[in-house]
């Protein structure tokens, strides 16, 4: 497959790049914070210039980014295969909703509900994180297919339990949430999620996670505490799924157990593998592309649900790495690591050049 060429942009981009690179680091380090604040302001003001429908799409994009990035931590970076992400989302959604609908008003805090919303989300996330232990402990004993079945069973159990608790509506669902989720809130949570996951992935702990993916036994031999890593990864992923669930509940304002079925989990899986495993940038792209694509396909009605699965199958066959599997946007890689990678790349290029020079008289390279 040929990559799309953007070479016509080179005359414009190169001078900009050169000029930017010539700035001292003390200036360049502020680029990202300034951009983030700028985007935040735009997100804050967005209700005044984007219509409700596209605001909602943006919010779904954000929620899906959180879900995708957090599942990528388990499925991509740790190499396990979890298919029950919607289960954690459900826990977060229900806990956060119960807090904002029942608990806070009962404490007479109804007037401050907009400020308490992040607390509700955090509590929902923590509850979901706790239930992440349900998956973490079986993962000590089983791996691969069987762990996938465990996560699946977990998703089904959550759905079944929610259907049987009549106090929170059972199969009829739970409603009464205010529309507290806004573009700005989602933006903040997305930035927080990506920032935290990036720091996690590139930390010492993150190396442990990657080593489990490559070979669990070997990594335990080089003193990676595999149990601790697994617990942390599952809990963190579940926590963010719970946050996403809370945000989801407060935009759609009505949740029922069916919204968190295996279909939802499959959607997240599609986004992870569309974006590419072990790539936060890929998760952002995957979630965005898939969400917007489904919105654009809305005129197709039921047929649009045929597109997602078909896309997934074709993707797995023709481009199993997704859009940018195992690759990362440079700005999501910490600076030291980036420098190391550039050095390694230069080394490789030099090696190749020397090898080419040695064989040059024969002519023609296979490169």
């Amino acid at each position: 497959m040929k990559r799309p060429s953007f070479s016509f942009l080179t005359p414009v981009l190169t001078p900009v790049r050169v000029a930017y690179a010539s700035l001292p680091f003390s200036v360049r380090r502020w680029t990202m914070p300034i951009l983030l604040v700028l985007f935040f302001v735009v997100a804050l003001l967005s209700p005044s210039f984007i219509n409700l429908y596209w605001q909602q799409v943006l919010i779904y994009v954000g929620i899906n980014i959180i879900l995708t990035a957090s599942l990528n931590l388990v499925n991509g970076y740790m190499g396990e295969f979890s298919v029950g992400h919607a289960g954690f989302m459900a826990v977060g959604a229900y806990v956060a909703s119960i807090l904002t609908v029942w608990v806070f008003p009962r404490w007479g805090l109804e007037a401050y509900i907009a400020y308490l919303f992040p607390i509700a989300l955090l509590v929902g996330g923590l509850a979901a994180g706790l239930t992440g232990l349900v998956i973490a402990f079986p993962s000590f004993r089983t791996r691969g297919d069987y762990l996938a079945i465990v996560t699946l069973a977990w998703n089904m159990i959550v759905k079944s339990v929610l259907e049987n608790i009549d106090a929170i509506g059972g199969p009829r669902g739970f409603m009464g949430m205010q529309k507290l989720t806004s573009v700005a809130w989602v933006y903040v949570w997305v930035v927080f999620t990506i920032y935290l996951l990036r720091n996690l992935v590139y930390s010492n702990f993150g190396r442990g996670t990657l080593s489990i993916r490559e070979d669990e036994i070997a990594s335990s031999l080089v003193s990676v505490d595999t149990r601790k890593v697994k617990i942390t990864v599952f809990v963190v992923a579940a926590f963010f799924a719970g946050i996403a669930g809370g945000l989801f509940a407060h935009i759609i304002q009505f949740i029922n157990p069916r919204s968190f079925s295996i279909l939802k989990s499959t959607d997240v899986l599609v986004m992870v593998y569309l974006g590419g495993i072990s790539s936060l940038g890929g998760s952002i792209l995957g979630a965005t592309v898939y969400t917007v694509l489904l919105e654009l396909l809305r005129p197709l009605q039921v047929w649009r649900w045929v597109v997602g699965p078909l896309l997934l199958v074709l993707l797995m066959i023709f481009r199993p790495r997704g859009i940018m599997g195992m690759q990362e946007w440079p700005f999501l890689i910490p600076r030291e690591e980036r420098a190391e990678r550039v050095a390694a790349l230069m080394e490789r290029i030099r090696g190749r050049r020397e090898a080419f020079a040695a064989t040059a008289p024969v002519g023609g390279s296979s490169d």
Partner: protein, 301 residues
């Protein structure tokens, strides 16, 4: 006591269907180590095939006797479904045989969802009924009432399972299947055509699911999403029995049949049945991950 026997009969009836579908899961897993999540939806397609062909055959113009129409419907469903499964294997799974196993599992999930939504988009969501091949007769023996349909379901399933067991244990094809399952790289050296054997496995698994589908359609309604629930339950059956183990799948199917029928008897509501089944699965996977009849696999370092 009479209700108990009655419930046991119901459980056997449902368990037979689960066991038939579980066989497909377990055979495919045994041979290429793939959890074929699309199998439940292949079963769903088979009931639709049975519905369309059965309705055509039972139309008044033909005046076929019920047993002939039933046999033809089942045979047609088996053939169409086997073809579908072979096509799915050929186009969706075969290109991924060298890829990481997760890719194939995700593809299977995708194929399943595709079948569901495609059926929904083309045929529509309304539940449908298979035509009555036999007039329902109810017998009462010692206070226990049972119908001829129930007997047919239990008997046909048992016969098919016996046949499959014989095929796998006594024929050359069965031996080849076991050989591929045992060692996929050595089997071709002994002259076993691995690709054909895998296709045959998919075909057999799907046609058994079609037997289950036709029988299931005689009692319950048919809708595009039925494959999800029945498929999952059959899948749990396969895992409970020890996935990859054919006799295990049969045992697991009946166990799940009993769980489904007896959950409402013991617990307050039938809505707890998913909870019970999946909790059972979870506990089993934690304490005996290789199932009731499976053998533990030691990992080589």
């Amino acid at each position: 006591m009479q209700t108990l026997i009655q419930q046991v009969l119901n459980a056997l009836q449902l368990g037979s269907v689960y066991a038939l579908i579980a066989l497909g899961y377990t055979m495919v897993y045994g041979i290429i180590r793939l959890i074929n999540f699309a199998h439940g939806d292949i079963f769903m397609v088979s009931t639709y095939v049975a519905f369309f062909i059965g309705t055509a055959l039972m139309s008044h113009a033909l005046r076929l006797p019920g047993i002939v129409a039933f046999g033809l419907t089942m045979a047609a469903a088996m053939m169409v479904t086997a073809l579908l499964a072979v096509l799915i294997e050929r186009f969706a799974y075969k290109p991924l045989r060298q890829a990481p196993r997760v890719s194939a599992v995700i593809t299977a999930l995708g194929v399943g969802l595709f079948l569901e939504n495609f059926t929904l988009a083309t045929i529509g969501p309304d539940p449908r009924f298979l035509p009555r091949f036999f007039s329902v007769q109810t017998f009462t023996v010692g206070g226990v009432a049972f119908s001829n349909i129930q007997i047919i379901i239990i008997a046909v399933s048992a016969a098919v399972m016996l046949l499959l067991d014989t095929i796998v244990r006594r024929t050359m094809v069965g031996m080849a299947m076991r050989a591929v399952s045992w060692d996929k790289s050595t089997a071709p050296l002994m002259g076993v055509p691995v690709d054909s054997i895998i296709s045959i496995t998919f075909a057999i698994g799907a046609s058994i699911a079609a037997v289950g589908g036709t029988l299931f359609g005689m009692v319950y309604t048919v809708d595009p999403y039925m494959g999800i629930r029945i498929g999952w339950w059959a899948f749990i059956s396969a895992v409970v029995g020890g996935i990859g183990n054919i006799r295990g799948a049969m045992v697991g199917g009946y166990i799940l049949g009993f769980v489904e029928i007896f959950t409402p008897v013991i617990l307050p509501a039938s809505t707890y049945r998913d909870f019970v089944a999946f909790s059972m699965l979870l506990l089993l996977l934690i304490f005996r991950p290789y199932g009731i009849l499976g053998r533990p696999v030691a990992q080589k370092v």
